[in-house]
Symmetry: C2
Subunit: 223 residues, 2 copies
DNA sequence: TGTACATCAGTGAACGCGCGTTCACTGATGTAC
DNA sequence: TGTACATCAGTGAACGCGCGTTCACTGATGTAC
């Protein structure tokens, strides 16, 4: 941890603004060039500013990438948590998994680059195992687990990581189930994003429905 | 297609040798730097040769990447086809899918970088949709389909793509089943390679067995 | 409401790096008589 | 078996490029009296 300069509020807000602007352009670059195409110099140019200017806002390129990944985790987590709002406490496990699966796929399709940013193996030269990132990952898993276990509290509670730790250490079957659900969703979604289904003229929607049915209909939810 | 120079056999063999050497080093670079780290100049240096020398063997960087991808497809296809040899004709669909799944995971674990090379979305600046590559992909799918449909012929026969086309156009349920099997395998394997299971202290072997059981035991093979 | 001062956003030049690729060339190697 | 020739593998210099990052600096902006 560095010595954080105490910034005056008005300047702090400005700073956050610019950081956001940078991230937005970075996401555009990610979209049409992949993560490796994210370049501070190019972002600066797009922003109408000189290259070194950005070093006021990010210590270096890695910090930018890092914050993109953390943001993406947060985005996906929110997308999954949102459907289970107030008054949805009584829904069945099946219904919740169903909705979770749909939300998951939807988010990935809406933000394919961010999804890839999350689930590609760590980029070379970029240490993805930072504390922040693994925290974000555990938090996401907490939401999925929460959906499966039934309470909607976990969805709201950002302390998902604690639950994950608990479920893991007790070897709770629900935890393993959550991982399996995730594994299948990820398989489907990443093939879909890669264009595999399209290339093979497979009806992705129908296939997805079939997979979701299997996930919820035949007792697997009790495994 | 270019005007291929008629090369004398002895020189042709030498040429193939060097191409292989280049690929081997490229795979090493892939292993510890990702696909983007594959550099002709660096390969040349490693090979004790000047940079431009490699342009005798590959038209450019893309052609090298391309051939790596095609090779990887071939390698995976062979790994999947091999288990079903002579005298295995009578095995059940379940048993064959089981073996297929194990072979798939095994190959991916043995050659994680090549697996990633295959299934990452196309790299920026590199056109992965070349004719060769999609041919290779279809051929691979042909093997998977062959396993599921029962004949061992398809495993040996490189004309898998024709079968895929047929199954697809007739909407054969086996084809959709093959895609679903593939989707799940990919989900599991890519999470495993990404270290997700390890990070969550999940027993990957047990999880995999559970997934394979589901794949073969409860009537899904008849979907 | 006005002024003096400290803070800090942004500049431009510079560094060293490695990349893909081209070009005209030299020298070795296999081939044909 | 020996020699003359054509082929072609490999060289080294050069091109233009964009990257991340540092540095000493200027000028605007918000702040405190």
């Amino acid at each position: 941890m560095e010595a954080e300069p105490r910034r005056t509020p008005i300047r702090e807000r400005f700073r956050e603004q610019v950081r956001d602007d940078v991230k937005i352009i970075a996401l555009e670059q990610l979209a049409d060039g992949g993560a490796q195409a994210i370049s501070l110099n190019a972002i600066a140019k797009e922003l109408g500013v000189s290259g070194p200017a950005l070093y006021r806002y990010f210590a270096n390129r890695d910090e930018l990438l890092n914050s993109l990944v953390v943001d993406a985790y947060g985005g996906l987590r929110d997308a999954l948590a949102r459907p289970v709002g107030a008054g949805e406490r009584g829904t069945s496990v099946s219904a919740r998994i169903r909705r979770l699966a749909r939300a998951y796929r939807l988010w990935a399709r809406e933000q394919p680059h961010r999804y890839e940013l999350l689930f590609r193996p760590p980029l070379p030269g970029y240490d993805a195992h930072s504390t922040q990132i693994s925290e974000a990952g555990r938090s996401l898993m907490g939401v999925v687990l929460g959906e499966i276990e039934g309470g909607s509290e976990a969805s709201v509670n950002p302390l998902g990581s604690a639950e994950v730790l608990h479920a893991r250490s007790t070897g709770a079957p629900n935890f393993r189930l959550a991982v399996r659900v995730w594994s299948r969703l990820h398989g489907f979604v990443s093939l879909e994003l890669g264009g595999a289904f399209h290339a093979m003229s497979v009806d992705a929607d129908a296939l997805f429905d079939a997979e979701v049915d299997v996930l919820t209909d035949n007792g697997e939810t009790r495994a």
